[in-house]
Amino acid sequence: MQVKFQLVTYDEELDKFDLDESVYHLELDDEQSKTYELLKDGDLHLYNWFQESDFFLNWIKEEVYPDSIGKKFAICDIDDVSFRRFYFFKVTSGDVHYEYFKKLFGLIEESEWQDREDFGKNILEYLPAKRQELVMELQDEAEVEDETEA
C-alpha cells in the first residue's frame, strides 16, 4: 500500500518550522502495511513508529532529501493524520488543539476558571520540548558508527 506524507523542515538557528509543500508517497510492504493499519489511529504511536523505523529514514535520506546530511525535519501529515498543531500551534487555533494539548501535557487545572489564553500560554511553554522529540536529523551512518565505536 502507499502512504502519503507531508513534511516540515526545521531551521535550528531560527528555531523555525517551514512547511514543505511537496507531497511524498512511500510504498509499504505487507508487514509494514499490517503495522500501519494497527497504528493508523494511534496518533503519536504512528509517528513514533515511522520515526524509529530504518526503512522510513532510509527512504527520506535516499529519495526525499538526498545529499542532505544534517538536515532536520519532522512529519506534518500522514495520510489523514495531521501533526501540524505541533509545529504551527498558535493561541488563536481551534478548541480541538487545546483539548489535545491539555491532555498531552497534563494541563488539567480546575478547568472552570481556565480560558483559552491561559491554556495557550501553558501549551506554548511545553511545546518546544515536545517538538524537539519529534524532529529527526539525517545522519551519515558511517559517522554514527564511528562515534559509537569511539
Binding site: L19, S82, R84, R85, F88, K90, T92, S93, G94, D95, K103, G106, L107, I108, E109, E110, S111, E112, W113, Q114, D115, R116, E117
Partner: protein, 496 residues
C-alpha cells in the same frame, strides 16, 4: 428534613440500587466497609502493611510553614514515621486548623459555625515545636526563614503549607475588604460586604452567609405570600483563578435553592450562576450531570462571566463577559482562527454570593520558593520542589494541576511524608501522587453527588456505583463521616 422526605430519598435510592442488583443493606454494607477504609485512608492491604513498618532513625530539622489541615496533618504523620522527630511549625493563627469543607454546610444553615472551628493548639503533636509567628522572608539558598517578629529559623528540610489568600481586594467596589485567610478575624471583610453580599470562603463569612440568606428568603417569602409574580435575583459567582473547593459555589447555590423550596418561596427567586469557565465541571461526565441538575432545578447560568466590580449602592455586579468569534481561514492549520472578544456586563442582584479570586500568599509569591505565578513549583508526583530539593509543598499553595481540596490533601500529605522520610534516609523518593481529588457536591439537602476524579480527567469512583448520581448516602458521609475523618484520621493520628 421530614420523614416523608427521608422515605422518598430511601425509595429513590432503593430503585437506583436495584437497577445495579444491590439491596440497600448490601450497598450500605459496601459503603460502610469502604467508608471505614476511607477513614483509614482507603488503605489497601499493601498500605496497611506499610503502616506496620517501624519508625526510621533518619535525622534532620524539619520546618513546616503553616498549621492548617495540610501542615498539621503532615507534622502528625511525620511523628509516626520518625524515631526522633525534630519538627517546628510556624503558624500565627490560633484557628488555622478549621474544618473548611464544612463552611458550605454552615452557609446553608445545616451546621453551626462552632462545629467547624478547631483550635490550632489542640492539634500540635507533643513532640513538635510551635512558633506562633508569621514567616515573612524565605532564603532557600541558605536554608532559613525569618518571621515577622525577627526570629530566624534554620532547617534541613522545609514543607510549605501556607494555604492561599482570598483576594477580595481585586474586586472594584469592595477593595477595602483586602486579602485574607479563611480562618481568623474577618470583621473588616464582613463590614465591607454589607447586608446583600456574602461569601462562605471565610469561617465568619459562612455564618454571615446563612444570616443574609435567611433574610433574603424571608423577603422572597413575603412576595410569595402576597401572590406577587416579582422575582428577586440570587447570583453566585466563580472567578478566573484557581479556587479551593471548586464545587463550593454550586454547593451553596444548591443549599440556597433547597432553603427557598423549603420556605415555599422558590418561584419568587431567579437563581443565576455566573462562572468564568466554559463548563459546569472540568470532567465531562460530571459536567453533564451538573448541567442536568441545573436544568431540573430551573437555574440560569452564564459561562465566561468573571466578576470585576460590585456596586453595593445600586446592587449591581459587573462582569467581564468573554466570547469567541470566527476569524480568517488559516491555510496551514486548515481551520478558521478564533478571535477572543470581551465586554463589561452589568447584572442587578438582590443577593450576591462571591467566590473570591484566590492567590498564593504574597511572601511566597515574592520569594524564591514561589513560581512567577505564586504557587510553589513542585513535581506533581513527588511534591518535591523543582529547584530546592530539600523543600516540599502540600495543600492549596502547591502548584499541582488540580484539586485544592481537603480530599487532595488527604492523598498528598502521605506521599509527601513518605518521600521526605526516604530522602532523609538517603533513599530514592518512593511515592507518587496521582492527582486524586474528591468533591462531595451537595445538590440538595439530603443529596450529594460524590465527584471523585484524577489527572486522567475521568471519574475515579471509590465505590461501585454510578458517581454522577446524587445520593442520600453520600450526604450522610458528607455530614457525618468526613469531619471525624479529618479531625481524628488526619489531624489527631495522621493515618487517614
Amino acid at each position: 428534613m421530614d420523614n416523608e422526605y427521608i422515605k422518598k430519598m430511601l425509595s429513590e435510592m432503593d430503585k437506583d440500587l436495584a437497577s445495579k442488583g444491590l439491596s440497600r443493606r448490601d450497598a450500605m454494607k459496601l459503603a460502610g466497609l469502604s467508608s471505614a477504609s476511607f477513614l483509614m485512608g482507603g488503605a489497601s492491604s499493601a498500605e496497611a502493611a506499610e503502616e506496620e513498618i517501624a519508625k526510621t532513625d533518619a535525622k534532620g530539622r524539619i520546618l513546616i510553614i503553616g498549621g492548617g489541615l495540610a501542615g498539621m496533618s503532615t507534622a502528625r504523620r511525620l511523628t509516626t514515621k520518625l524515631s526522633n522527630p525534630d519538627i517546628t511549625i510556624i503558624e500565627p493563627n490560633e484557628y488555622s486548623s478549621n474544618y473548611q469543607p464544612g463552611q458550605t454546610l454552615v452557609g446553608g444553615g445545616i451546621w453551626d459555625v462552632d462545629e467547624v472551628i478547631f483550635k490550632r493548639d489542640d492539634y500540635v503533636p507533643d513532640s513538635v515545636k510551635l512558633i506562633k509567628e508569621k514567616a515573612i522572608a524565605f532564603t532557600p539558598q541558605e536554608n532559613f526563614v525569618v518571621t515577622d517578629k525577627g526570629t530566624k529559623v534554620e532547617y534541613d528540610y522545609m514543607v510549605v503549607a501556607t494555604g492561599l489568600h482570598l483576594d477580595f481586594e481585586r474586586l472594584k467596589g469592595i477593595t477595602a475588604a483586602g486579602r485574607c485567610y479563611t480562618a481568623g478575624d474577618n470583621s473588616t471583610l464582613l463590614k465591607v460586604l454589607g447586608d446583600d453580599v456574602c461569601s462562605i470562603w471565610t469561617t465568619e463569612g459562612s455564618a454571615r452567609t446563612w444570616e443574609i440568606m435567611q433574610a433574603k428568603i424571608a423577603e422572597a417569602k413575603k412576595l410569595a405570600d402576597a401572590g406577587s409574580k416579582k422575582k428577586l435575583r440570587f447570583i453566585f459567582t466563580h472567578p478566573n483563578t484557581p479556587i479551593k473547593c471548586g464545587g463550593a459555589p454550586k454547593k451553596i447555590m444548591n443549599l440556597a435553592n433547597a432553603r427557598l423550596k423549603e420556605a415555599g418561596a422558590r418561584d419568587n427567586v431567579e437563581m443565576l450562576f455566573c462562572t468564568n469557565g466554559g463548563a459546569m465541571f472540568g470532567i465531562p461526565e460530571y459536567h453533564d450531570a451538573v448541567l442536568g441538575q441545573f436544568k431540573r432545578e430551573g437555574f440560569k447560568w452564564k459561562y465566561r462571566h468573571n466578576l470585576l466590580e460590585v456596586h453595593k449602592d445600586r446592587k449591581v455586579a459587573v462582569f467581564d463577559s468573554k466570547w469567541q468569534e470566527k476569524g480568517p481561514w488559516d491555510p496551514i492549520m486548515h481551520e478558521y482562527e478564533v478571535i477572543p472578544k470581551h465586554e463589561k456586563v452589568e447584572i442587578a442582584y438582590d443577593f450576591l454570593h462571591i467566590a473570591p479570586p484566590q492567590m498564593a500568599p504574597r511572601e511566597i509569591r515574592e520569594s524564591n520558593v514561589g513560581s512567577p505565578a505564586g504557587w510553589v513549583p513542585v513535581n506533581k508526583h513527588t511534591l518535591q520542589h523543582f529547584q530546592y530539593k530539600n523543600i516540599y509543598s502540600v495543600g492549596d499553595v502547591a502548584q499541582v494541576p488540580m484539586g485544592k481540596t481537603g480530599g487532595s490533601v488527604r492523598k498528598q500529605y502521605k506521599v509527601l511524608v513518605d518521600n521526605l522520610v526516604a530522602q532523609m534516609a538517603g533513599k530514592k523518593l518512593p511515592k507518587k501522587y496521582t492527582g486524586y481529588t474528591v468533591c462531595p457536591l451537595v445538590t440538595d439537602i439530603g443529596r450529594v453527588m460524590l465527584a471523585e476524579f484524577n489527572w486522567t480527567v475521568k471519574p475515579a469512583p471509590s465505590f461501585p456505583l454510578d458517581p454522577t448520581v446524587e445520593r442520600w448516602m453520600w450526604w450522610l458521609m458528607k455530614v457525618h463521616l468526613l469531619l471525624p475523618m479529618t479531625q481524628i484520621g488526619m489531624l489527631k493520628t495522621g493515618r487517614a
